[in-house]
Amino acid sequence: MGPLTIVFARCLQAIPTVFGIVVVTFLLTRALPGDPAAYFAGASATAESIAEIRAKLGLDQSLPVQFWTYLKDLSSGDLGQSISTGQPVAAELLRRLPASLELTLTALLLSVAIAIPLGVLAAVRQDSWIDQLCRLVVTAGVSLPTFFTGLLLIYVLYFLLGLAPAPLGRLDLLHVTPPQVTGFLVLDALIAREWATAWSAARQLALPSITLALFTLAPLARMTRAAMLQALASEYLRTARAAGLSRGRVLMVYAFRNALLPIVTTLGMVFSFSLGANVLVEKVFAWPGIGSYALEALVVSDYAAVQGFVLSMAVLFVLVNLAIDIVYTLIDPRMRIEG
Protein backbone atom coordinates (compact mmCIF):
# COMPACT_ATOMS: atom_id res chain seq x y z
CA MET A 1 0.00 0.00 0.00
CA GLY A 2 1.20 3.46 -0.81
CA PRO A 3 1.41 6.13 1.87
CA LEU A 4 -1.53 8.04 0.36
CA THR A 5 -3.84 5.02 0.60
CA ILE A 6 -2.86 4.62 4.25
CA VAL A 7 -3.57 8.26 5.01
CA PHE A 8 -6.94 7.92 3.33
CA ALA A 9 -7.75 4.71 5.24
CA ARG A 10 -6.86 6.37 8.55
CA CYS A 11 -9.13 9.30 7.76
CA LEU A 12 -11.99 6.88 7.02
CA GLN A 13 -11.38 5.13 10.34
CA ALA A 14 -11.89 8.42 12.18
CA ILE A 15 -15.42 8.86 10.84
CA PRO A 16 -17.19 6.42 13.22
CA THR A 17 -15.40 8.06 16.14
CA VAL A 18 -16.56 11.52 15.10
CA PHE A 19 -20.08 10.16 14.67
CA GLY A 20 -19.94 8.66 18.17
CA ILE A 21 -18.83 12.01 19.56
CA VAL A 22 -21.71 13.79 17.85
CA VAL A 23 -24.18 11.24 19.25
CA VAL A 24 -22.82 11.64 22.77
CA THR A 25 -22.92 15.45 22.66
CA PHE A 26 -26.45 15.27 21.26
CA LEU A 27 -27.52 12.92 24.07
CA LEU A 28 -25.90 15.24 26.61
CA THR A 29 -28.16 18.05 25.39
CA ARG A 30 -31.19 15.77 25.76
CA ALA A 31 -30.17 14.83 29.29
CA LEU A 32 -30.64 18.41 30.45
CA PRO A 33 -32.54 18.70 33.68
CA GLY A 34 -35.51 20.97 33.21
CA ASP A 35 -37.06 22.29 30.05
CA PRO A 36 -34.81 24.30 27.72
CA ALA A 37 -37.88 25.91 26.16
CA ALA A 38 -39.02 27.22 29.54
CA TYR A 39 -35.47 28.44 30.10
CA PHE A 40 -35.40 30.34 26.81
CA ALA A 41 -38.87 31.78 27.39
CA GLY A 42 -37.82 33.40 30.65
CA ALA A 43 -39.60 33.86 33.97
CA SER A 44 -42.71 35.65 32.69
CA ALA A 45 -43.56 32.99 30.09
CA THR A 46 -47.04 31.58 29.61
CA ALA A 47 -47.81 28.01 28.64
CA GLU A 48 -48.49 29.10 25.03
CA SER A 49 -45.24 31.01 24.64
CA ILE A 50 -43.30 28.05 26.00
CA ALA A 51 -45.06 25.73 23.54
CA GLU A 52 -44.31 28.20 20.76
CA ILE A 53 -40.62 28.31 21.63
CA ARG A 54 -40.56 24.54 21.93
CA ALA A 55 -41.92 24.27 18.40
CA LYS A 56 -39.45 26.89 17.19
CA LEU A 57 -36.52 25.00 18.73
CA GLY A 58 -37.84 21.75 17.31
CA LEU A 59 -38.13 20.22 20.77
CA ASP A 60 -41.64 18.89 20.04
CA GLN A 61 -40.23 16.59 17.35
CA SER A 62 -39.20 12.98 17.94
CA LEU A 63 -35.60 12.26 18.97
CA PRO A 64 -34.43 10.95 15.56
CA VAL A 65 -35.86 14.04 13.84
CA GLN A 66 -34.16 16.27 16.37
CA PHE A 67 -30.91 14.41 15.82
CA TRP A 68 -31.22 14.90 12.07
CA THR A 69 -31.76 18.63 12.58
CA TYR A 70 -28.75 18.72 14.87
CA LEU A 71 -26.62 16.99 12.22
CA LYS A 72 -27.82 19.43 9.55
CA ASP A 73 -26.99 22.40 11.77
CA LEU A 74 -23.58 20.94 12.53
CA SER A 75 -22.74 20.33 8.90
CA SER A 76 -23.35 24.02 8.19
CA GLY A 77 -21.08 24.91 11.12
CA ASP A 78 -23.96 26.00 13.38
CA LEU A 79 -23.42 25.13 17.02
CA GLY A 80 -26.44 27.07 18.23
CA GLN A 81 -26.85 30.41 19.98
CA SER A 82 -25.33 31.23 23.31
CA ILE A 83 -28.06 32.24 25.78
CA SER A 84 -25.87 34.58 27.78
CA THR A 85 -24.17 36.55 25.00
CA GLY A 86 -26.70 36.06 22.19
CA GLN A 87 -23.82 35.30 19.80
CA PRO A 88 -23.48 32.16 17.70
CA VAL A 89 -21.42 29.66 19.69
CA ALA A 90 -19.23 28.67 16.73
CA ALA A 91 -18.11 32.26 16.15
CA GLU A 92 -17.28 32.79 19.81
CA LEU A 93 -15.29 29.56 19.99
CA LEU A 94 -13.36 30.44 16.83
CA ARG A 95 -12.57 33.90 18.18
CA ARG A 96 -11.14 32.42 21.37
CA LEU A 97 -9.46 29.37 19.91
CA PRO A 98 -6.12 31.05 19.06
CA ALA A 99 -5.57 32.05 22.69
CA SER A 100 -6.04 28.46 23.85
CA LEU A 101 -3.96 27.02 21.03
CA GLU A 102 -1.15 29.48 21.70
CA LEU A 103 -1.10 28.36 25.33
CA THR A 104 -1.41 24.63 24.65
CA LEU A 105 1.14 24.50 21.84
CA THR A 106 3.71 26.58 23.73
CA ALA A 107 3.27 24.32 26.72
CA LEU A 108 3.62 21.18 24.60
CA LEU A 109 6.74 22.49 22.87
CA LEU A 110 8.22 23.39 26.22
CA SER A 111 7.46 20.03 27.77
CA VAL A 112 8.76 18.09 24.75
CA ALA A 113 11.94 20.17 24.83
CA ILE A 114 12.49 19.28 28.47
CA ALA A 115 10.96 15.82 28.81
CA ILE A 116 12.66 14.07 25.89
CA PRO A 117 16.26 15.00 26.74
CA LEU A 118 15.51 14.33 30.41
CA GLY A 119 14.03 10.91 29.68
CA VAL A 120 16.84 9.96 27.28
CA LEU A 121 19.54 11.01 29.74
CA ALA A 122 17.77 9.22 32.59
CA ALA A 123 17.69 6.02 30.55
CA VAL A 124 21.29 6.30 29.36
CA ARG A 125 22.62 7.07 32.81
CA GLN A 126 20.33 4.84 34.81
CA ASP A 127 20.39 5.42 38.59
CA SER A 128 22.52 8.55 38.23
CA TRP A 129 21.40 11.90 39.67
CA ILE A 130 19.65 12.74 36.43
CA ASP A 131 17.63 9.55 36.68
CA GLN A 132 16.64 10.51 40.22
CA LEU A 133 15.72 13.99 38.97
CA CYS A 134 13.60 12.41 36.25
CA ARG A 135 11.86 10.23 38.83
CA LEU A 136 11.20 13.25 41.04
CA VAL A 137 9.79 15.30 38.15
CA VAL A 138 7.57 12.43 37.07
CA THR A 139 6.19 11.80 40.56
CA ALA A 140 5.65 15.50 41.24
CA GLY A 141 4.08 16.08 37.85
CA VAL A 142 1.57 13.29 38.38
CA SER A 143 0.67 14.36 41.91
CA LEU A 144 0.47 18.14 41.50
CA PRO A 145 -2.94 19.52 40.59
CA THR A 146 -2.45 21.92 37.66
CA PHE A 147 -4.38 24.73 39.27
CA PHE A 148 -2.28 24.39 42.39
CA THR A 149 1.03 24.55 40.47
CA GLY A 150 -0.25 27.66 38.70
CA LEU A 151 -1.10 29.37 41.96
CA LEU A 152 2.26 28.45 43.50
CA LEU A 153 4.07 29.90 40.50
CA ILE A 154 2.01 33.10 40.72
CA TYR A 155 2.77 33.44 44.40
CA VAL A 156 6.50 32.88 44.06
CA LEU A 157 7.24 34.55 40.72
CA TYR A 158 4.70 37.38 40.80
CA PHE A 159 4.05 38.21 44.44
CA LEU A 160 7.37 37.35 46.08
CA LEU A 161 9.95 37.92 43.34
CA GLY A 162 8.08 40.28 41.02
CA LEU A 163 9.56 38.55 37.98
CA ALA A 164 6.28 37.65 36.30
CA PRO A 165 3.48 40.04 35.30
CA ALA A 166 0.09 39.96 37.00
CA PRO A 167 -1.88 36.87 35.95
CA LEU A 168 -4.52 38.82 34.07
CA GLY A 169 -4.91 37.63 30.52
CA ARG A 170 -2.80 37.71 27.40
CA LEU A 171 -1.56 41.27 27.21
CA ASP A 172 -0.80 44.13 29.54
CA LEU A 173 -3.32 46.98 29.25
CA LEU A 174 -0.50 49.35 28.25
CA HIS A 175 -0.07 47.59 24.92
CA VAL A 176 -2.34 47.65 21.91
CA THR A 177 -3.30 44.28 20.42
CA PRO A 178 -1.35 43.85 17.17
CA PRO A 179 -3.26 43.25 13.91
CA GLN A 180 -4.35 39.62 13.78
CA VAL A 181 -2.44 37.38 11.40
CA THR A 182 -1.93 34.05 13.14
CA GLY A 183 -4.00 34.80 16.24
CA PHE A 184 -0.95 34.03 18.36
CA LEU A 185 -0.20 37.36 20.04
CA VAL A 186 3.55 36.87 20.33
CA LEU A 187 3.88 35.98 16.65
CA ASP A 188 1.47 38.72 15.57
CA ALA A 189 3.43 41.33 17.48
CA LEU A 190 6.68 40.08 15.96
CA ILE A 191 5.16 40.26 12.48
CA ALA A 192 3.98 43.81 13.20
CA ARG A 193 7.49 44.60 14.49
CA GLU A 194 6.17 45.77 17.83
CA TRP A 195 8.96 44.40 19.97
CA ALA A 196 7.70 45.75 23.29
CA THR A 197 4.27 44.22 22.71
CA ALA A 198 5.81 40.89 21.75
CA TRP A 199 7.93 40.90 24.91
CA SER A 200 4.91 41.75 27.04
CA ALA A 201 2.79 39.02 25.44
CA ALA A 202 5.60 36.49 25.87
CA ARG A 203 5.89 37.43 29.55
CA GLN A 204 2.14 36.93 30.01
CA LEU A 205 2.36 33.59 28.25
CA ALA A 206 5.31 32.33 30.29
CA LEU A 207 3.66 31.32 33.57
CA PRO A 208 0.52 29.65 32.19
CA SER A 209 2.52 27.66 29.66
CA ILE A 210 5.07 26.60 32.29
CA THR A 211 2.19 25.46 34.49
CA LEU A 212 0.68 23.41 31.72
CA ALA A 213 4.10 22.10 30.67
CA LEU A 214 4.86 20.87 34.19
CA PHE A 215 1.68 18.87 34.02
CA THR A 216 2.39 17.31 30.62
CA LEU A 217 6.07 16.77 31.36
CA ALA A 218 5.55 13.74 33.59
CA PRO A 219 3.94 11.24 31.19
CA LEU A 220 6.30 12.27 28.39
CA ALA A 221 9.46 11.94 30.46
CA ARG A 222 8.27 8.65 31.89
CA MET A 223 7.48 7.19 28.49
CA THR A 224 10.74 8.47 26.96
CA ARG A 225 12.74 6.85 29.74
CA ALA A 226 10.88 3.55 29.51
CA ALA A 227 11.04 3.40 25.71
CA MET A 228 14.73 4.28 25.68
CA LEU A 229 15.48 1.63 28.31
CA GLN A 230 13.68 -0.93 26.23
CA ALA A 231 15.53 0.09 23.07
CA LEU A 232 18.87 0.11 24.88
CA ALA A 233 18.36 -3.46 26.08
CA SER A 234 17.46 -4.75 22.62
CA GLU A 235 19.40 -7.19 20.48
CA TYR A 236 19.74 -4.84 17.53
CA LEU A 237 21.40 -2.30 19.76
CA ARG A 238 23.88 -4.86 21.00
CA THR A 239 24.62 -5.72 17.39
CA ALA A 240 25.08 -2.05 16.56
CA ARG A 241 27.50 -1.67 19.44
CA ALA A 242 29.35 -4.84 18.51
CA ALA A 243 29.67 -3.61 14.94
CA GLY A 244 31.67 -0.74 16.36
CA LEU A 245 29.34 2.13 15.58
CA SER A 246 30.02 5.32 17.48
CA ARG A 247 28.21 5.86 20.75
CA GLY A 248 26.36 8.90 19.46
CA ARG A 249 25.16 7.06 16.37
CA VAL A 250 24.02 4.05 18.36
CA LEU A 251 22.11 6.26 20.78
CA MET A 252 20.58 8.80 18.48
CA VAL A 253 19.94 6.81 15.35
CA TYR A 254 19.31 3.27 16.51
CA ALA A 255 17.96 3.67 20.04
CA PHE A 256 16.18 7.01 19.87
CA ARG A 257 14.47 6.48 16.54
CA ASN A 258 12.99 3.24 17.79
CA ALA A 259 11.98 4.79 21.09
CA LEU A 260 10.27 7.61 19.21
CA LEU A 261 7.15 5.62 18.35
CA PRO A 262 5.74 5.13 21.87
CA ILE A 263 6.74 8.73 22.61
CA VAL A 264 4.63 9.99 19.72
CA THR A 265 1.69 7.92 20.96
CA THR A 266 2.07 9.39 24.44
CA LEU A 267 2.12 12.83 22.89
CA GLY A 268 -1.43 12.26 21.65
CA MET A 269 -2.57 11.23 25.11
CA VAL A 270 -0.81 14.20 26.65
CA PHE A 271 -2.62 16.48 24.23
CA SER A 272 -5.93 15.16 25.53
CA PHE A 273 -4.84 15.87 29.11
CA SER A 274 -3.77 19.36 28.24
CA LEU A 275 -7.09 20.18 26.57
CA GLY A 276 -8.72 19.38 29.91
CA ALA A 277 -6.04 21.03 32.03
CA ASN A 278 -6.27 24.08 29.79
CA VAL A 279 -9.63 24.91 31.37
CA LEU A 280 -8.06 24.97 34.83
CA VAL A 281 -5.00 26.93 33.75
CA GLU A 282 -7.12 29.47 31.88
CA LYS A 283 -9.20 30.02 34.99
CA VAL A 284 -6.13 30.53 37.18
CA PHE A 285 -4.49 33.01 34.79
CA ALA A 286 -7.69 34.70 33.50
CA TRP A 287 -6.60 33.57 30.03
CA PRO A 288 -9.33 34.49 27.50
CA GLY A 289 -9.41 31.14 25.69
CA ILE A 290 -12.19 28.68 24.99
CA GLY A 291 -11.74 27.12 28.43
CA SER A 292 -12.73 30.32 30.21
CA TYR A 293 -15.56 30.74 27.71
CA ALA A 294 -16.87 27.31 28.70
CA LEU A 295 -16.53 28.20 32.38
CA GLU A 296 -18.49 31.44 31.95
CA ALA A 297 -21.12 29.40 30.12
CA LEU A 298 -21.19 26.77 32.89
CA VAL A 299 -21.83 29.39 35.56
CA VAL A 300 -24.98 30.65 33.79
CA SER A 301 -26.03 27.17 32.53
CA ASP A 302 -25.55 28.22 28.92
CA TYR A 303 -25.93 24.71 27.52
CA ALA A 304 -25.42 25.41 23.83
CA ALA A 305 -22.08 26.99 24.61
CA VAL A 306 -20.96 24.12 26.84
CA GLN A 307 -22.06 21.51 24.29
CA GLY A 308 -20.28 23.41 21.54
CA PHE A 309 -17.16 23.50 23.66
CA VAL A 310 -17.26 19.78 24.45
CA LEU A 311 -17.90 18.90 20.82
CA SER A 312 -15.16 21.09 19.42
CA MET A 313 -12.62 19.89 21.98
CA ALA A 314 -13.42 16.27 21.13
CA VAL A 315 -13.19 16.89 17.40
CA LEU A 316 -9.91 18.74 17.89
CA PHE A 317 -8.61 15.79 19.86
CA VAL A 318 -9.68 13.32 17.17
CA LEU A 319 -7.96 15.42 14.53
CA VAL A 320 -4.74 15.54 16.53
CA ASN A 321 -4.85 11.79 17.07
CA LEU A 322 -5.49 11.31 13.39
CA ALA A 323 -2.49 13.46 12.53
CA ILE A 324 -0.35 11.50 14.98
CA ASP A 325 -1.61 8.24 13.54
CA ILE A 326 -0.69 9.35 10.05
CA VAL A 327 2.75 10.54 11.13
CA TYR A 328 3.20 7.24 12.92
CA THR A 329 2.36 5.25 9.80
CA LEU A 330 4.67 7.35 7.71
CA ILE A 331 7.68 7.08 10.02
CA ASP A 332 7.29 3.41 10.84
CA PRO A 333 7.81 1.16 7.82
CA ARG A 334 6.43 -1.85 9.74
CA MET A 335 3.00 -0.23 9.99
CA ARG A 336 2.93 0.14 6.23
CA ILE A 337 3.41 -3.55 5.64
CA GLU A 338 0.77 -4.52 8.18
CA GLY A 339 -1.61 -1.77 7.10
Partner: protein, 300 residues
Protein backbone atom coordinates in the same frame (compact mmCIF):
# COMPACT_ATOMS: atom_id res chain seq x y z
CA UNK B 1 31.39 -21.77 51.06
CA UNK B 2 30.86 -25.29 52.32
CA UNK B 3 27.68 -26.88 51.06
CA UNK B 4 26.92 -28.50 54.38
CA UNK B 5 26.74 -25.13 56.15
CA UNK B 6 24.12 -23.80 53.75
CA UNK B 7 20.54 -24.04 54.94
CA UNK B 8 17.90 -23.22 52.35
CA UNK B 9 15.78 -20.31 53.57
CA UNK B 10 12.61 -22.33 53.28
CA UNK B 11 13.82 -24.89 55.77
CA UNK B 12 14.09 -22.29 58.48
CA UNK B 13 10.39 -21.44 58.35
CA UNK B 14 8.26 -23.74 60.44
CA UNK B 15 5.61 -25.20 58.13
CA UNK B 16 2.34 -25.22 60.13
CA UNK B 17 0.99 -21.68 60.22
CA UNK B 18 -2.46 -20.21 60.17
CA UNK B 19 -3.69 -18.28 57.13
CA UNK B 20 -3.63 -15.09 59.15
CA UNK B 21 0.04 -15.30 60.16
CA UNK B 22 0.91 -16.27 56.60
CA UNK B 23 -0.77 -13.27 55.06
CA UNK B 24 0.64 -11.05 57.77
CA UNK B 25 4.12 -12.36 57.04
CA UNK B 26 3.61 -11.65 53.37
CA UNK B 27 2.37 -8.15 54.19
CA UNK B 28 5.45 -7.57 56.36
CA UNK B 29 7.72 -8.89 53.63
CA UNK B 30 6.16 -6.53 51.09
CA UNK B 31 6.35 -3.53 53.38
CA UNK B 32 9.93 -4.05 54.49
CA UNK B 33 11.21 -4.83 51.02
CA UNK B 34 9.95 -1.49 49.75
CA UNK B 35 10.02 1.28 52.38
CA UNK B 36 8.27 3.72 50.03
CA UNK B 37 5.26 1.44 49.78
CA UNK B 38 5.30 1.23 53.55
CA UNK B 39 5.33 5.02 53.78
CA UNK B 40 2.42 5.22 51.35
CA UNK B 41 0.55 2.68 53.40
CA UNK B 42 1.10 4.72 56.57
CA UNK B 43 -0.09 7.87 54.80
CA UNK B 44 -3.20 6.04 53.61
CA UNK B 45 -3.91 4.78 57.12
CA UNK B 46 -3.52 8.35 58.42
CA UNK B 47 -5.88 9.65 55.79
CA UNK B 48 -8.49 7.04 56.63
CA UNK B 49 -8.26 7.95 60.32
CA UNK B 50 -8.62 11.65 59.48
CA UNK B 51 -11.55 10.99 57.19
CA UNK B 52 -13.27 8.86 59.82
CA UNK B 53 -12.63 10.94 62.91
CA UNK B 54 -12.04 14.38 61.31
CA UNK B 55 -15.01 16.13 62.93
CA UNK B 56 -13.88 14.94 66.36
CA UNK B 57 -10.26 16.03 65.80
CA UNK B 58 -10.64 19.62 64.63
CA UNK B 59 -9.86 22.43 67.08
CA UNK B 60 -12.41 24.88 65.60
CA UNK B 61 -15.82 24.78 63.95
CA UNK B 62 -15.02 24.65 60.21
CA UNK B 63 -18.07 26.77 59.35
CA UNK B 64 -17.86 29.31 62.19
CA UNK B 65 -17.06 32.77 60.79
CA UNK B 66 -15.22 35.37 62.85
CA UNK B 67 -15.20 38.70 61.04
CA UNK B 68 -12.51 40.22 63.28
CA UNK B 69 -10.15 37.32 62.58
CA UNK B 70 -10.37 37.28 58.77
CA UNK B 71 -7.23 36.51 56.72
CA UNK B 72 -4.87 35.96 59.64
CA UNK B 73 -1.63 34.14 58.78
CA UNK B 74 -0.81 30.81 60.45
CA UNK B 75 -0.34 31.12 64.20
CA UNK B 76 -0.30 28.91 67.28
CA UNK B 77 -4.07 29.19 67.57
CA UNK B 78 -4.87 28.82 63.87
CA UNK B 79 -2.21 26.47 62.49
CA UNK B 80 -3.06 27.07 58.85
CA UNK B 81 -4.35 30.64 59.37
CA UNK B 82 -7.86 31.86 58.75
CA UNK B 83 -9.73 32.54 55.52
CA UNK B 84 -11.55 35.64 54.25
CA UNK B 85 -14.49 34.94 56.58
CA UNK B 86 -12.33 34.15 59.59
CA UNK B 87 -12.85 30.38 59.36
CA UNK B 88 -10.04 28.15 60.56
CA UNK B 89 -8.25 26.74 57.50
CA UNK B 90 -6.75 23.82 59.41
CA UNK B 91 -10.15 22.59 60.56
CA UNK B 92 -11.56 22.99 57.06
CA UNK B 93 -8.69 21.04 55.47
CA UNK B 94 -9.21 18.21 57.97
CA UNK B 95 -13.00 18.16 57.56
CA UNK B 96 -12.67 18.19 53.78
CA UNK B 97 -10.74 14.89 53.82
CA UNK B 98 -13.93 12.91 54.31
CA UNK B 99 -15.83 14.55 51.45
CA UNK B 100 -12.89 14.32 49.03
CA UNK B 101 -12.27 10.68 49.87
CA UNK B 102 -15.97 9.92 49.65
CA UNK B 103 -16.28 11.48 46.20
CA UNK B 104 -13.26 9.73 44.75
CA UNK B 105 -13.76 6.38 46.48
CA UNK B 106 -17.39 6.12 45.38
CA UNK B 107 -16.51 7.26 41.84
CA UNK B 108 -13.72 4.73 41.57
CA UNK B 109 -15.83 1.99 43.14
CA UNK B 110 -18.58 2.64 40.60
CA UNK B 111 -16.11 2.56 37.71
CA UNK B 112 -14.54 -0.57 39.09
CA UNK B 113 -17.82 -2.44 39.50
CA UNK B 114 -19.32 -1.41 36.16
CA UNK B 115 -16.02 -1.61 34.26
CA UNK B 116 -15.18 -5.06 35.63
CA UNK B 117 -18.63 -6.44 34.78
CA UNK B 118 -18.65 -4.93 31.32
CA UNK B 119 -15.09 -5.97 30.56
CA UNK B 120 -15.55 -9.47 31.97
CA UNK B 121 -18.64 -10.15 29.84
CA UNK B 122 -16.98 -8.69 26.75
CA UNK B 123 -13.80 -10.66 27.32
CA UNK B 124 -15.53 -13.94 28.13
CA UNK B 125 -18.21 -14.12 25.47
CA UNK B 126 -16.82 -11.79 22.82
CA UNK B 127 -19.11 -11.40 19.84
CA UNK B 128 -21.49 -8.50 19.29
CA UNK B 129 -21.49 -7.46 22.95
CA UNK B 130 -17.71 -7.14 22.87
CA UNK B 131 -17.81 -5.08 19.69
CA UNK B 132 -20.60 -2.83 20.95
CA UNK B 133 -19.01 -2.17 24.34
CA UNK B 134 -15.65 -1.63 22.64
CA UNK B 135 -17.24 1.03 20.41
CA UNK B 136 -18.88 2.78 23.35
CA UNK B 137 -15.65 2.80 25.34
CA UNK B 138 -13.69 4.07 22.34
CA UNK B 139 -16.17 6.90 22.01
CA UNK B 140 -15.69 7.86 25.66
CA UNK B 141 -11.94 7.76 25.18
CA UNK B 142 -12.23 9.96 22.10
CA UNK B 143 -13.15 12.88 24.35
CA UNK B 144 -10.62 14.80 26.36
CA UNK B 145 -11.79 13.19 29.59
CA UNK B 146 -11.91 16.21 31.84
CA UNK B 147 -13.89 18.09 29.20
CA UNK B 148 -16.36 15.20 28.95
CA UNK B 149 -16.78 15.24 32.73
CA UNK B 150 -17.52 18.98 32.53
CA UNK B 151 -20.14 18.33 29.85
CA UNK B 152 -21.79 15.55 31.85
CA UNK B 153 -22.03 17.65 35.00
CA UNK B 154 -23.30 20.62 33.01
CA UNK B 155 -26.01 18.51 31.38
CA UNK B 156 -27.03 16.35 34.32
CA UNK B 157 -27.04 19.11 36.89
CA UNK B 158 -24.56 20.71 39.18
CA UNK B 159 -24.53 18.38 42.20
CA UNK B 160 -21.94 16.33 44.09
CA UNK B 161 -23.74 13.18 43.00
CA UNK B 162 -23.22 14.08 39.35
CA UNK B 163 -19.55 14.82 39.97
CA UNK B 164 -19.24 11.23 41.23
CA UNK B 165 -21.10 9.87 38.20
CA UNK B 166 -19.07 11.94 35.73
CA UNK B 167 -15.79 10.86 37.33
CA UNK B 168 -16.99 7.25 37.27
CA UNK B 169 -17.92 7.42 33.57
CA UNK B 170 -14.62 8.89 32.42
CA UNK B 171 -12.68 6.24 34.36
CA UNK B 172 -14.83 3.35 33.20
CA UNK B 173 -12.86 2.52 30.02
CA UNK B 174 -9.63 1.92 31.95
CA UNK B 175 -11.21 -0.75 34.15
CA UNK B 176 -13.23 -2.32 31.38
CA UNK B 177 -10.13 -2.67 29.21
CA UNK B 178 -8.02 -4.25 31.93
CA UNK B 179 -10.86 -6.62 32.87
CA UNK B 180 -11.51 -7.56 29.25
CA UNK B 181 -7.86 -8.29 28.57
CA UNK B 182 -7.37 -10.27 31.77
CA UNK B 183 -10.53 -12.32 31.27
CA UNK B 184 -9.96 -13.07 27.62
CA UNK B 185 -6.46 -14.47 28.20
CA UNK B 186 -7.86 -16.82 30.86
CA UNK B 187 -10.97 -17.79 28.95
CA UNK B 188 -9.53 -21.13 27.84
CA UNK B 189 -6.92 -21.66 30.54
CA UNK B 190 -6.44 -25.19 31.83
CA UNK B 191 -8.25 -24.64 35.11
CA UNK B 192 -11.20 -23.06 33.27
CA UNK B 193 -11.51 -26.09 31.00
CA UNK B 194 -11.30 -28.34 34.04
CA UNK B 195 -14.07 -26.37 35.72
CA UNK B 196 -16.18 -26.55 32.57
CA UNK B 197 -15.67 -30.33 32.26
CA UNK B 198 -16.69 -30.87 35.85
CA UNK B 199 -20.03 -29.29 35.06
CA UNK B 200 -19.81 -25.69 36.26
CA UNK B 201 -22.07 -23.24 34.46
CA UNK B 202 -20.40 -20.57 32.32
CA UNK B 203 -21.59 -17.84 34.65
CA UNK B 204 -20.22 -19.66 37.67
CA UNK B 205 -16.86 -20.15 35.96
CA UNK B 206 -16.60 -16.47 35.12
CA UNK B 207 -17.64 -15.35 38.58
CA UNK B 208 -15.78 -17.83 40.77
CA UNK B 209 -12.84 -19.09 38.68
CA UNK B 210 -11.79 -16.27 36.39
CA UNK B 211 -12.74 -13.03 38.15
CA UNK B 212 -10.77 -13.75 41.35
CA UNK B 213 -7.68 -14.28 39.20
CA UNK B 214 -8.11 -10.94 37.46
CA UNK B 215 -8.35 -9.08 40.75
CA UNK B 216 -4.62 -8.34 41.29
CA UNK B 217 -4.16 -6.36 38.06
CA UNK B 218 -7.53 -4.71 38.65
CA UNK B 219 -6.47 -3.63 42.13
CA UNK B 220 -3.31 -2.09 40.72
CA UNK B 221 -5.38 -0.22 38.18
CA UNK B 222 -7.65 0.91 40.99
CA UNK B 223 -4.84 2.29 43.06
CA UNK B 224 -3.16 4.00 40.12
CA UNK B 225 -6.49 5.45 39.06
CA UNK B 226 -7.49 6.69 42.48
CA UNK B 227 -5.06 9.62 42.49
CA UNK B 228 -6.26 10.65 39.07
CA UNK B 229 -9.88 10.44 40.21
CA UNK B 230 -9.15 12.71 43.18
CA UNK B 231 -7.45 15.23 40.88
CA UNK B 232 -10.38 15.15 38.49
CA UNK B 233 -13.02 15.61 41.16
CA UNK B 234 -11.02 18.42 42.75
CA UNK B 235 -10.56 20.02 39.32
CA UNK B 236 -14.32 19.96 38.77
CA UNK B 237 -15.00 21.59 42.10
CA UNK B 238 -12.19 24.07 41.45
CA UNK B 239 -14.07 25.36 38.42
CA UNK B 240 -17.20 25.68 40.52
CA UNK B 241 -19.01 22.43 39.80
CA UNK B 242 -20.55 20.15 42.39
CA UNK B 243 -19.60 21.38 45.81
CA UNK B 244 -21.31 24.57 47.05
CA UNK B 245 -19.30 27.29 48.81
CA UNK B 246 -19.78 26.92 52.56
CA UNK B 247 -18.89 23.22 52.29
CA UNK B 248 -15.24 22.44 52.97
CA UNK B 249 -13.66 20.63 50.02
CA UNK B 250 -10.04 20.89 48.85
CA UNK B 251 -10.73 21.92 45.26
CA UNK B 252 -13.16 24.68 46.14
CA UNK B 253 -10.93 25.88 48.98
CA UNK B 254 -8.05 26.29 46.54
CA UNK B 255 -10.43 28.14 44.20
CA UNK B 256 -11.49 30.50 47.00
CA UNK B 257 -7.90 31.00 48.06
CA UNK B 258 -6.84 31.72 44.47
CA UNK B 259 -8.31 35.22 44.71
CA UNK B 260 -6.00 36.04 47.61
CA UNK B 261 -2.76 34.65 46.16
CA UNK B 262 -2.01 37.85 44.21
CA UNK B 263 -2.25 39.88 47.39
CA UNK B 264 0.03 37.50 49.25
CA UNK B 265 -2.38 35.51 51.45
CA UNK B 266 -0.85 32.20 50.46
CA UNK B 267 -2.15 30.02 53.27
CA UNK B 268 -5.71 29.94 51.97
CA UNK B 269 -4.80 28.01 48.83
CA UNK B 270 -1.55 26.36 49.88
CA UNK B 271 -2.80 24.06 52.63
CA UNK B 272 -5.81 22.53 50.88
CA UNK B 273 -3.69 22.26 47.72
CA UNK B 274 -0.94 20.50 49.67
CA UNK B 275 -3.48 18.13 51.22
CA UNK B 276 -4.78 17.32 47.76
CA UNK B 277 -1.27 16.74 46.50
CA UNK B 278 -0.42 14.49 49.43
CA UNK B 279 -3.53 12.39 48.86
CA UNK B 280 -2.78 11.94 45.16
CA UNK B 281 0.87 11.26 45.92
CA UNK B 282 -0.09 8.56 48.43
CA UNK B 283 -2.28 6.72 45.97
CA UNK B 284 0.30 6.97 43.20
CA UNK B 285 3.04 5.54 45.42
CA UNK B 286 0.73 2.80 46.59
CA UNK B 287 -0.21 1.99 43.01
CA UNK B 288 3.42 1.83 41.90
CA UNK B 289 4.25 -0.40 44.86
CA UNK B 290 1.34 -2.71 44.13
CA UNK B 291 2.26 -2.88 40.48
CA UNK B 292 5.82 -3.86 41.34
CA UNK B 293 4.39 -6.66 43.44
CA UNK B 294 2.00 -7.96 40.84
CA UNK B 295 4.04 -7.32 37.75
CA UNK B 296 7.78 -7.01 38.46
CA UNK B 297 8.56 -6.63 34.75
CA UNK B 298 6.95 -3.22 34.48
CA UNK B 299 8.96 -1.82 37.38
CA UNK B 300 10.22 1.65 36.46
Amino acid sequence: MADAAFTPPLARISPPRSAFTRSFAHFRYVMTSNPITFLAFLLLAGMIVIAAFGPALVPHDPLATLADKALKPPSAQHWFGTDQLGRDVFSRVIIATRLDMLISVSAVAMSFACGATLGAFAGYWGGWFDRLSGRVLDTIMAFPLFVLAMGIVAAAGNTIQNIVIATAIINLPFYARVARAEVSIRRNAGYVQAARLSGNSEFRILLLKILPNTLPPMMVQLSLNMGWAILNAAGLSFIGLGVRPPTAEWGIMVAEGANYIVSGEWWLALFPGAALMLAVFTFNLLGDGLRDLVDPQRRT
